[in-house]
């Protein structure tokens, strides 16, 4: 049976990028424990709206844990206390009656706050634009089954490719490093035959862009892996380091033979 909770929220409110932000305390009463965390915020927002107060702005879209749009640092943890979930899949049964919940946006220099809990993550797009693709045009490609890929490799590439680009890894990292995010894409293509021809240029270009965006360095603490909602592994970072190092030592054309 569903239970009801009364909660105290301490929510980061910030009017825009230039304004100074602060925590605001909001009471959330009669919250059903089978609500999702974002549905709880919906209820709070409906109340605020009825009172004529500005609702709390937060990013969200699919509410199925796949689009990567939702964020929120909840009681100090990106996507909240439950492991392996996004905020939209977190349910109120993970909290108890009377609890105080602190809700903040992702904190990173490369992710400036837009309003309240929403941040600008376009830096991630620019990293992908730097090299997160195979240079292939539409049309004129070979039949799909002419590129056999061992199942183990395909599965591993798939695991890396499941990154949803939410930014929790950056928010979790004390250095605000984006290495897990970058390494997931680099790994996907480093593993697959389709990615071989541009393997090293890709690693180099994506890391260069990452640095340019102001993300911090990786010191291998593993907080990113611990908080990743889709289980992207730290081994991806090891692979990225290897790719990057090789890129510094070898030329692509020497390697690809």
């Amino acid at each position: 049976m569903s239970k009801e909770l009364n909660l105290t929220l301490k929510v980061w409110r910030q009017r825009n990028n230039k304004a100074k932000g602060q925590f605001v305390t909001i009471q959330a009463n009669n919250i059903a424990d089978d609500m999702s965390f974002l549905e709880m915020l919906d209820v709070v927002n409906e109340d605020l709206t009825r009172k004529g107060e500005d609702p709390i702005y937060f990013d969200h879209d699919c509410r199925e844990g796949i689009c990567g749009m939702c964020s929120l640092v909840i009681n100090g943890r990106p996507h909240g206390p439950k492991e392996g979930t996004t905020t939209c899949q977190l349910h109120m049964r993970s909290f108890h009656d009377g609890q105080t919940i602190v809700i903040e946006p992702w904190r990173a220099a490369a992710f400036p706050v837009l309003k309240d809990l929403a941040v600008d993550r376009t830096a991630f797009d620019r990293i992908q634009q730097a090299g997160g693709y195979v240079n292939v045009n539409t049309g004129g490609v070979p039949d799909a089954n002419t590129i056999p890929i061992p199942k183990r490799i395909a599965d591993e590439a798939f695991e890396s490719a499941t990154c949803i680009g939410c930014g929790a890894c950056v928010a979790a990292c004390k250095n605000a490093s984006a290495m897990l995010f970058v390494s997931a894409k680099v790994s996907q293509f480093a593993l697959l035959p389709q990615g071989q021809t541009e393997r090293y240029e890709r690693a180099q270009a994506m890391v260069d862009q990452m640095d340019k965006e102001g993300f911090g360095s990786c010191t291998n603490t593993g907080a990113c892996e611990a908080e990743c909602p889709v289980g992207i592994k730290l081994t991806n970072i090891a692979r990225l380091n290897r790719e990057y190092l090789n890129a510094k030592i070898f030329r692509q054309e020497d390697v690809h033979s």
């Binding site: 699919c62 349910h91 680009g165 389709q194």
Partner: protein, 644 residues
């Protein structure tokens, strides 16, 4: 009568002939044209990337913070292609046939055949991009079965096929952004189309962060903005999915086709309470291994609902595997409309399960016994996890509870064979258009259509239009038409911001959803639809008198964003009801209780309704005018669909 412009000649040659007959734009001239792409899901991203590769300048727009967030990303099960890799009798014609039949003979033959034809290229393209599809141990691609087909032609990436395909298209898009061929505008919402002398020449957008109203000019505009399922408030769509771009285009002259064709997906997690914000799909692929059942008697169901019995307590002989019983040859893999209606039927009989009684079981016990838990986990792990997160019930140990929910809209902006709307130079791709799925879409066909339109159709057809323009001159952003449209957009925003009543926009949206679900959902009657029309009109009035919209334009303002979208849904809802009322037959997802066979299946009326309904907007509060496109079937015989 509307002209679909489907080329003459034998079905299998239509597209090849048409490709040859279309005019080309010289490579050096392509860079003189700008194409606007609204929406960056599978259709939009693939179109934008492919057009930019050809040399056109492209501008893309999405309301999300990144093109990668488009709701195509949430598609789970797979993508169909007539590769016949399984040697099980598949062919382009069979995929075409299954799709036309699955659509209950309300689709356009020419478009559907082309879709089946290019399906094979899509898989090749995606693999070349590095999309990690599921593979066999030998290294070749794996397939699975989906509803409405007796061959295995569905390619997949675990339960995240949409994600992988979208990230593939997004990567192709990124490559063109890097090259400077695509300018990407994120957190931008299209609020109107600008037409000059009857041609679409640009759009008006709102920057969602700053509120700035902008004009963007181009030689053609592509709407790739998805479906309108959120008119029901609760659906499997993302929270932001909306009809605004399509609807504003409709008001500028684009006909809206078959709005009443909505797909209610049979396997979704049931509603729990009023606070619910959306519904979550459990992929149709689960019906490969899951068995759908309810108790045979109302008494047993009552006990389950009260929690006195658990699913495991119900003996085998007391269970009714109703899909297997009624449809022995397709069993649990009947098309979506059939599966949904049957779920509603058993629930209406009082045989539903779960606390609310509004659910049926999807049971994996047999599959786990046969294949082992690990194999089941490998196939469906992420779906089972998602179910567990949401319901707090472990589907490895007890059956899932599922119930139909609004998932997809087959109706949409009317387009001809070239995907052009009734506004010259304005195109609609993917779920946004109406063209390929008839009255019911088969599983794993939405991804196919989005990518077919974007990668392989629009690059040809838009070229033909541009080549025929007869001028390479850039479109003037300072043309009075831009100024005029922009003023109208601004005045609409001001009108919304002035609303200061005591109902929230969500209150009204939820009310609209209830009306639509009750009277224009899985079963419809003339009486109910007439009632719904009145209710929607009242609600619309209430919205403009009593809704409350906060804040100002010059900020991130979710209240304003929602209000604009709900205002459009209120108008669309009424048109859906009109369309459902006009179509006095049952077909696919449109089920009129007045028109059913003795066995309770959808009964078509081919003599009177073998046409596409395309509605023309005539002005505020004016009745829309119905235009008909006759559906001509030269290659399939219209029969009563049977999956028995």
């Amino acid at each position: 009568m509307l002209d679909s412009k489907v080329p003459a000649g034998p079905l299998a040659q239509k597209w090849s002939n048409h490709k040859f007959n279309m005019k080309l734009v010289n490579p050096a001239n392509k860079r003189k044209f700008t194409i606007i792409v609204v929406g960056t899901g599978l259709a939009g991203a693939s179109a934008a990337a492919s057009l930019a590769e050809l040399g056109y300048n492209v501008k893309t727009f999405c309301y999300q913070d990144s093109p990668r967030r488009a709701h195509s990303i949430a598609a789970q099960g797979g993508i169909n292609a007539a590769k016949n890799y399984q040697n099980d009798g598949d062919s382009v014609f069979r995929l075409f046939y299954d799709t036309i039949k699955g659509g209950d003979y309300r689709g356009r033959e020419g478009n559907t055949y082309r879709l089946a034809e290019v399906s094979v290229n899509i898989i090749d393209q995606c693999v070349a991009q590095g999309v990690p599809f599921a593979r066999e141990y030998g290294g070749l691609l794996d397939n699975r079965s989906f509803g409405g087909a007796q061959v295995s032609r569905t390619f997949y990436a675990r339960g995240q096929t949409g994600q992988q395909l979208l990230l593939g298209a997004y990567s192709a898009l990124n490559r063109q952004i890097k090259k400077g061929k695509v300018q990407s505008y994120t957190r931008h919402e299209m609020l109107d189309i600008v037409t000059i002398d009857g041609h679409a020449k640009g759009i008006i957008t709102r920057d969602l962060v700053t509120g700035k109203i902008e004009s963007h000019a181009g030689h053609a505009v592509l709407l790739c903005t998805g479906g309108y399922g959120n008119v029901y408030f609760l659906s499997t769509n993302a929270m932001g999915c909306n009809v605004t771009a399509a609807w504003r285009a409709h008001k500028r002259g684009a006909f809206f086709a078959n709005p009443c064709y909505t797909q209610i997906h049979p396997t979704c997690i049931p509603v729990t309470g009023d606070h619910q914000s959306k519904l979550t799909l459990m992929s149709e692929s689960l019906r490969n291994d899951g068995r759908v059942w309810v108790p045979k008697t109302v008494e047993l169901s009552k006990k389950l609902q009260k929690g006195e019995l658990k699913a495991a307590d119900i003996k085998e002989e007391d269970r009714d595997y109703y899909l297997e019983r009624k449809y022995p040859s397709f069993g649990n893999l009947v098309p979506r409309d059939v599966a949904s209606r049957n779920a509603k039927e058993v629930v209406d009989e009082g045989r539903g399960v779960g606390k609310s009684g509004v659910a049926v079981f999807l049971d994996f016990a047999d599959a786990i016994k046969r294949l082992g838990e690990d194999t089941v986990r490998a196939k469906y792990g992420n779906l089972f996890d998602m179910y567990y997160q949401i319901t707090d019930e472990n589907p490895y140990k007890q059956p899932m509870r599922i119930y139909p929910a609004v998932h997809y809209t087959m109706g949409g902006v009317w387009v001809d064979y070239n995907l052009m709307t009734t506004v010259s130079g304005l195109y609609a791709l993917g779920e946004c258009n109406f063209s390929d799925h008839g009255a019911n879409r088969l599983g794993a066909s939405a991804l196919m259509q989005g990518l077919s339109d974007g990668y392989f159709v629009i690059p040809y057809t838009v070229g033909d239009y541009l080549a025929n323009l007869g001028s390479f001159a850039p479109v003037d952003q300072n043309h009075p038409a831009f100024e005029q449209t922009r003023k109208e957009v601004e005045s609409n925003i001001n009108r919304l911001l002035s609303l200061n009543g005591n109902k929230t926009v969500d209150d009204i949206h939820k009310q609209l959803g209830h009306i639509m679900w009750e009277y224009c959902g899985m079963a419809r009657t003339a009486e109910g639809l007439i009632k719904a029309k009145g209710l929607i009109q009242e609600l619309r009035k209430e919205f403009w008198e009593n809704a409350r919209v906060l804040g100002e334009n010059e900020e991130l303002n979710m209240s304003l964003e929602k209000a604009g979208r709900v205002a459009d849904f209120l108008e669309l809802g009424e048109l859906m009801v009109d369309d459902a009322l006009n179509r006095n037959e049952s077909c696919g997802g449109h089920f009129r209780l007045e028109s059913q066979t003795e066995e309770g299946e959808a009964k078509r009326d081919d003599e009177n309704y073998a046409y596409v309904s395309a509605w023309e907007y005539k002005g505020d509060n004016q009745p829309e005018v119905l235009h008909k496109e006759e559906l001509i079937f030269e290659n399939v015989k219209l029969t009563q669909r049977s999956y028995k």
